[in-house]
Amino acid sequence: MIGIIDYNAGNIASVQKAVEKLGYDAVLVDSPEQINACDSYILPGVGAFNQAMQNLAPLKDALVTNVKSGKYLLGICLGLQLLFDKSYEDGEYEGLHLIEGEVVRFPEDAGLKVPHMGWNKLVLDRDDELARGIDGHVYFVHSYYVKPADSSCIVMHAEYGVDVPAVVRNDNVVGMQFHPEKSSNVGMKLLLNYLEMCL
């Protein structure tokens, strides 16, 4: 069973519907017991880093323990950023330390609009089962992006002044900076690739 972490992080119904549409069952989970009972996870997220970490606090230990035992986790958008060591969004805050690296704001002087909002093309960095059959655009909306300490975890990126890590993977820990559940057919295929990997 796939558990969608329910920690008051915005539009999680869309994620659940997308997973169900692909023929998988997903439950919303909001307690350590429920988290322990799941086989894999999706961590959605909209809003600010610090608030999200605070909301996640009661579930954090259970989630991290299960993921470190090998269960798959997919972080989406802010959920991806939470996987990292720390973020500089409105201060300096610690993340889940599941992937080494930091979360930084887009440079203001690059002449680019912030947030990075809209459809951007995915560029392949390395072969991975997550990226199989993927060619096209996905929907981004974010003002901060991740800088992994080890760039070999980047499976795909998008270009927006800087190379924005879009799909990252560290063994069983996966992140997508865009919203696959809002990215039409390409997004659904990426979600499906993740779900098939979890089996």
Partner: protein, 253 residues
């Protein structure tokens, strides 16, 4: 690089789409969910739904529509109309909307933008501005209440203030060009793009495919929004996007 966006706008009254007509192979053209699915399949990058009803009962119907759209359409969509307080944001976001647009209510109470951005994030707060040219001042005034009341507020200043308060995107509705079908208001859009650093959605004036090309060639706007030309089938979204791509505009096709 990021693509320019094409956004059809749907006005919803009592749970039905107003002015949806000519669609081949679409039986129930007034059904917002059907139409949303159709547009999504044609390549629409986003959708905007405006609730043009006022009564509380109709409001509940609209929220049901939002929920149904969210359950069936896998592209982002914005909801506007009748958003007056923080609680209204909460209601439509919980129902599945990705972004919420405010217009008159934000002019009356700018703090609403700030509070909503703080609570739900800037990415979901869209400031919609109805602007009309003021010949005396050679600038644009902000209008409210469906374009009926001139607030005398400068539209560019209001956009700046809105972004400072936390708006993550701006919809610029040009009253001068709206319904005329002679093209978007390039002057207004250039002034806005120079003033703020968030995405700008151009609205009002699209009459043919070339108007979108002019929009993206002559301004730094991120998206073009239109209603009737899509609803009446005058312009097919898939044709429009191919045409723009052929003319070197970055598009998702």
């Amino acid at each position: 690089m990021i693509t320019k966006r094409i956004i059809p706008c749907l006005d919803v009254r009592n749970g039905r789409v107003v002015k949806g007509t000519k669609f081949q192979g679409l039986n129930d053209v007034d059904d917002p969910v059907n139409l949303a699915k159709f547009y999504s399949e044609c390549g629409a990058d986003e959708l905007v739904f405006y609730d043009i009803t006022a009564s509380a009962e109709a409001r509940d119907i609209f929220v049901d529509v939002v929920r149904e759209v969210a359950n069936n359409v896998y592209i982002p969509f914005t909801v506007g109309g009748g958003i007056n307080k923080l609680d209204d944001f909460n209601t439509v976001l919980r129902a599945g909307a990705d972004k919420v647009s405010v217009n008159s209510s934000a002019v009356k109470n700018p703090q609403l933008i700030h509070d909503a951005a703080l609570k739900f994030g800037s990415q979901c707060v869209v400031l919609s501005i109805d602007a009309k040219y003021n010949e005396e001042r050679e600038s644009y005034d902000v209008y409210v209440n469906g374009g009926r009341v001139n607030t005398q507020i400068d539209a560019i200043e209001w956009a700046r203030k809105g972004v400072e308060l936390g708006a993550g995107e701006i919809v610029a509705n040009s009253i001068d060009t709206d319904g005329v079908k002679e093209g978007f208001n390039i002057d207004l859009l250039n002034r806005l793009c120079d003033a703020v650093n968030v995405p700008i959605i151009a609205s009002g004036g699209a009459g043919n495919m070339q108007h979108f090309l002019e929009l993206f060639q002559q301004t730094n706007a991120d998206a073009g929004l239109a209603a009737s030309i899509f609803h009446f089938g005058e312009v097919q979204i898939s044709d429009l996007k191919q045409y723009l791509l052929d003319n070197k505009i970055n598009m998702r096709v």
